[in-house]
């Protein structure tokens, strides 16, 4: 099966052995999008890798940045002169990471529906909300998807006062909102409503339940053995979340529950994503007052214009709970300008290894649904 069109999940092929319609063996074939990410990472200086991490899982560039920044900061903290990120920076980082999680889950639920045949209508409803979040990203970071926003010791830029634009091309239409009002409206009104609507729209839909319940089951033990992470692991009944297991940034202060479900099928993965969206909103609603409280404080602790930070020799592993699972950056430095070794633990890649286990005994049409429920992004799988 495949290689599929890039607009579905990416260029991915599966070698499937069939008995009639039933899957007997399945082997994922990856590498169509291989870009030599890790080797390029070793050529680049530390800061130059930041925009490259955007291109791993291109739906969640801000939390990719987050993991890499944490990895390098851990390494820098071994050295003599190191200022940890300021509080404002941490608050902004968490704000961005959680918004990214919402965006990514919207996208993945939408695509799951696409895969089971609800072609594009649910997805468009999801993308509508995503659009608004991306508008905020664009005004803050400069780009909708390739944000390149975090720096070692903070973020590149403070939140703008207003999300405003200047007409520049012919037929340009101008918008101008106050940032804080926009964020408020988004996380207290619009997004919760959208999540509820999704829930109402899809959760009890008979077609969705028929296609999803009991399909692609991964037991608790199997999920652990395949070292799955993120919603795939949590839907199999393992309440493991890096934000709780190894708390970073300001997560220890925030109240949220780790979403967990116990059947390990496609439907539960979908439900875990919905729960996580609700938890993300809960986090965001706690972050908002912090954002207000830290307004005007420094967003960057390092020296400005520092394009080659001093990174001491050593190794570190920075990990974050990405929407797709645990994203880890293993960075080894020999004290020079660039990493000596740079490795990415990509959650979609590792979750994908469990694909065969989930598909065995199911029909061909289910494979597509199962693949959709793992929520892979090929930019990250192939690197």
């Amino acid at each position: 099966m495949g290689p599929q069109h890039p607009s579905t999940h990416g260029v991915f092929r599966m070698m499937v052995k069939l008995n009639g319609e039933t899957i007997e063996r399945l082997e994922p074939v990856m590498g169509y999008l291989h870009r030599n990410h890790e080797k390029i990472g070793e050529r680049n200086t530390f800061i130059q890798n930041m925009p490259f991490t955007d291109r791993l899982d291109y739906l969640t560039s801000l939390s990719n940045n987050f993991g890499y920044a944490m990895g390098v900061e851990k390494l820098m903290s071994l050295g003599a002169r190191y200022n940890p990120p300021t509080r404002r920076a941490e608050v902004i980082r968490v704000l961005m990471a959680e918004l990214t999680r919402l965006v990514s889950h919207f996208w993945s639920v939408g695509f799951l529906m696409n895969d089971i045949g609800a072609f594009f209508t649910p997805m468009m409803y999801a993308v509508e909300e995503r659009e608004l979040v991306l508008d905020f990203f664009e005004a803050t970071t400069g780009s909708r998807m390739m944000c390149n926003y975090l720096r070692f010791g903070g973020v590149a830029n403070d939140l703008p006062e207003r999300l405003r634009s200047e007409a520049n091309l012919i037929n340009d239409r101008v918008r101008d909102f106050s940032t804080m009002d926009y964020v408020w409206e988004m996380i207290f009104e619009r997004l919760p409503r959208a999540v509820d609507q999704f829930d109402e729209y899809l959760t009890t839909n008979e077609i969705v339940t028929n296609r999803c319940i009991g399909v692609g089951t991964l037991t608790r033990e199997e999920a652990i053995d395949y070292s799955a992470a993120g919603p795939v692991l949590r839907a199999s009944g393992v309440p493991y979340d890096v934000r709780r297991a190894e708390p970073y940034s300001i997560y220890p202060e925030l109240e949220f529950d780790v979403a967990v479900r116990y059947h390990g099928d496609v439907y539960d993965r979908y439900l875990v994503r919905l729960d996580e969206m609700r938890q993300s909103l809960r986090i965001l609603q706690q972050v908002y007052p912090l954002l207000k409280a830290t307004e005007g404080e420094a967003f960057f602790s390092g020296r400005g214009g520092m394009y080659s930070p001093r990174v001491p020799a050593g190794e570190s592993y920075g990990r974050v709970e990405n929407p797709k699972g645990e994203l880890g950056y293993y960075v080894v430095s020999d004290g020079g300008q660039n990493p000596w070794r740079y490795h990415v633990r990509a959650p979609s890649f590792i979750n994908l290894t469990a694909l065969e286990r989930m598909c065995l005994g199911h029909k061909v049409a289910d494979v597509v649904a199962i693949l959709g429920s793992i929520d892979i992004v090929l930019g990250e799988v192939d690197r």
Binding site: Q48, P160, E161, N171, V174, F177, T203, I207
Partner: protein, 210 residues
């Protein structure tokens, strides 16, 4: 009851469908939304269709938007040095550029043969540029900035996509017009609207006069 879930879903779809028309009625069935309506439709109050009918209407990009970089030159009616590059060919942008797509040719003084702080040529391969904005972020002279003009389609992909200095250079006024608040902040940091060198020279002159 079996099937209620589907009907509920249909109801939501219908609501979206109706909302689109409610919106249209509200703005008087104009094919291209009147400018006042645009921020409402494309904002958090938007209920109906989110489509922007490019190219009849475009969303103006925010000030921090990053596209291919451009070089700032002095306004063409500048009293002292019209059209002079702000770039001093220090090479930091070329060094920090992640895909290494900037190529600078440094100028030399024809008499002494020593390098002059201005670029003779400046190339950016925009096919390679990843719009990361690092060059603009780390330029110590605010001489390279990210542009907002994203309409770059061209008929030839071999020669047209390597921008030379002439193609990249834009007046300082242009930067002020596309990003007024950002430009103002930068000017504050520099200590004036002018280039650092000009400001320095002025300060020196003023000192000499005293």
């Amino acid at each position: 009851m079996y099937g209620t879930g589907i009907w509920r879903g249909m109801w939501i779809t219908l609501r979206h469908f109706v909302n689109t028309y409610v919106d249209d009625v509200k703005w008087g069935f104009q094919r291209h939304v009147p400018p006042e309506a645009f921020p409402v439709r494309q904002g958090l109050q938007g209920r109906g269709s989110f489509t922007v009918e490019y190219p009849e209407e475009k969303i103006a990009v925010p000030e921090r938007f990053r596209f291919i970089p451009f070089l700032i030159v002095e306004n063409y009616d500048h009293p002292e040095r019209p059209g002079h590059d702000w770039c001093t060919s220090c090479g930091i942008c070329a060094k920090v550029c992640p895909p290494q797509c900037i190529w600078i040719v440094r100028g030399t003084d024809p008499e002494t043969g020593r390098p002059k702080p201005e670029p003779v040529d400046f190339y950016i391969d925009i096919d390679i540029c990843m719009n990361c904005g690092l060059c603009a972020e780390f330029c110590p002279f605010d001489a390279i900035k990210m542009d907002h003009d994203y309409e770059l389609a061209s008929y030839d992909r071999t020669g047209n996509h390597i921008f030379d200095k002439q193609h990249l250079s834009k007046e300082f006024r242009y930067w002020q017009s596309i990003a007024p608040t950002v430009a103002e902040k930068e000017a504050e940091a520099r200590g004036g609207w002018e280039h650092k060198d000009v400001l320095k020279a002025r300060a020196k002159e003023a000192k000499a006069k005293d």
